[in-house]
């Protein structure tokens, strides 16, 4: 188990989010969320469908803005940042792993892994390529580095997505059901990979999952029901594999 330090990676205070404001179907999805993640924590976010997990993840990932409340990521208050600064912070501090891999089909696996670095630095160079190659090696896909992202299997694609999420050495990785459409074996492999990154690099992970079996393998389990955190507990019985 990675030692969770005392440095805050993320702090949410009273975060609210509504959809359809100004229409008859307006609904508040998140009702005042308070959540703090410490550096190196490996946290599961669980809850039934429609409880607001993905909405929360989009807010934390700076893909969307909260209606109220405060969001501090890597020491920066999101509400104080301009659009371009938010884009930069997102690229630098946050890695995304989606349920569907969302790789760019026109690019090779190596290029997909390079993409966040390329977007941040604006220009391709050899060190960037080497970083991407090392990450691809880490997820065991070196033989596929020059294959188009659309030409490899679902499990492999998700591993590429993990490598891509780590490209900028983010402090926080957000995973939205990363193994949601994978078979058990591949799901375990993907999970192992994230765990190993967490343990060796100390990256903070927040993983949305429906799978109780996978949640049991996290250090901390946060449960969201109807837009409220109903339980937030350390997992005393972390299931370790192999």
């Amino acid at each position: 188990m990675a030692d969770a330090g005392s440095v805050e990676t993320l702090r949410l205070t009273g975060v609210r989010k509504s959809y359809g404001v100004g229409t008859p179907v307006a609904a508040e999805v998140l009702h005042g969320i308070d959540l703090t993640l410490l550096q190196g924590e490996f946290t599961a976010l669980i809850g039934p469908s429609g409880s607001g997990k993905t909405t929360l993840l989009n807010l934390i990932g700076l893909l969307d803005q909260p209606d109220a409340g405060e969001l501090v990521i890597a020491g920066q208050r999101a509400s104080a940042l301009a659009e371009a600064e938010i884009t930069r912070l997102r690229g630098r501090a946050i890695g995304f792993i989606f349920q569907y891999h969302y790789l760019l089909p026109a690019f090779t696996t190596l290029e997909n892994v390079m993409m966040p670095i390329l977007a941040a630095r604006g220009r391709a160079d050899t060190p960037m390529r080497e970083t991407a190659a090392a990450l691809l090696d880490r997820v065991g896909l070196t033989p596929w580095r020059d294959h188009k992202a659309s030409d490899i299997s679902g499990g492999q694609q998700q591993r590429v997505a993990i490598a891509r999420a780590l490209a900028m050495s983010p402090t926080l990785v957000l995973a939205d059901e990363p193994s949601g459409n994978l078979d058990t074996q591949n799901a375990d492999a993907v999970f192992d990979l994230m765990r190993s990154v967490n343990e060796t690099v100390g990256t903070t992970f927040l993983i949305v999952t429906h799978d109780p079996r996978l949640a049991q393998r996290c250090d901390r389990i946060v449960e969201l029901v109807d837009g409220r955190i109903v339980s937030d507990r350390p997992n005393a019985h972390v299931v370790r594999r192999g």
Partner: protein, 408 residues
Amino acid sequence: MSPLALFEWIVAFRFMREGLTQTVLIVFGVALGGGVIIFMSALLAGMQANIIRRTLNYQAPIQILAPEQVARPLREGGGAAVAAQVQPRSQQLRSVDQWQKIRTEVERMPDVIGVTPVVTGPGFARRGEATKAVSVIGIEPESYFGVIALPEKIVAGRYDVGPIDVVIGTELAKDLGTAVGDKLVLATANAAASTLTVIGLFDFGNKGVNERNVYVALRTAQNLLDLAGGATSLDVKVRDPFAAETIAGTIRAGHDLQVDSWIRTNAQFFTAMAAQILANTLIRIFVGITVALGIASVLVVSVVQKSKEIGILRAMGAGRGQVLRVFLIQGGFMGLTGALFGSALAWGFLLLWRGVARNPDGTPLFIVVIEPTLFALACVGATLVGILAAAVPATRAARLDPVVAIRG
């Protein structure tokens, strides 16, 4: 380092490669449009240059003449005109007053290449039974050939006219049945006549000129027309034929002289040319708009197709500006590549035109100059049109909300 290593360029080119069919089709469309514009422009420019050259072959850009003689009504003490009707005076053949002095002055002007005195008047060319009315033109060969390229138009014999020589046009030679070396009599209304030797034949490609113009030495013409030491006009050559009217104005301002520019004497031609330029410009504009709409529509579709990828790129940290440039680059590239192919196409058509469009005698109908600057301009223009056309789709792409785009 090459721009191809830049994020925007890498993504732009990959996107275009992914939609290769669309890209190829639009590039082909731009090529056709660009090709038509280049071909038409070259043709028009060639035609104009040709007409201008033909006109300036036998006409100096500027002619300085003696001022027109005007009738001065008789006046009584009070200044009221006595005559009820003032008839315009008939114009005598007169010399330009102090033409040597004026010549020196005009020669010093910055845009003037050459000035030559000319004595022109009516006459008759006679050989045996045949008589033809001609225009006697007395020239000073050394300076005249700097203004009018007569030597280039000589088809037989020589052109350096001496006191007893004459150079005539091919039409007149045919009418009189003369050849180089034959003699003919040149007579004028003053009952003066000279027997001259035909030393050369010219062809200006204009029947009227070939029939009418007869070149003799300045002194010979002065004698025939009874204008000893005079010059009826000074022919002036200028560096830029289109500046002729301005220069003529400058000369006019300093002297009491009649100064005609070829722009004024060929007003009808210039009106026709202006109409042609207008029509050509309109066609260019509409073809340009069509090309722009084509590029824009392809990119609008591309933005919709690629919205998920755009969302992913944004989530990966790509800024709005970067996404905007990805699509502007595509527009510019489509314009430029299309224009390059269009240039090749137009080049081919122009070569074909050179081969096909010929006079009955096999000489080219007119010379179309394949001007590299025209191609360069077309390429720059098409690139700009492409970038402009991409502005709307690119802005849409940049405004995509990553969350919405990713969820599709």
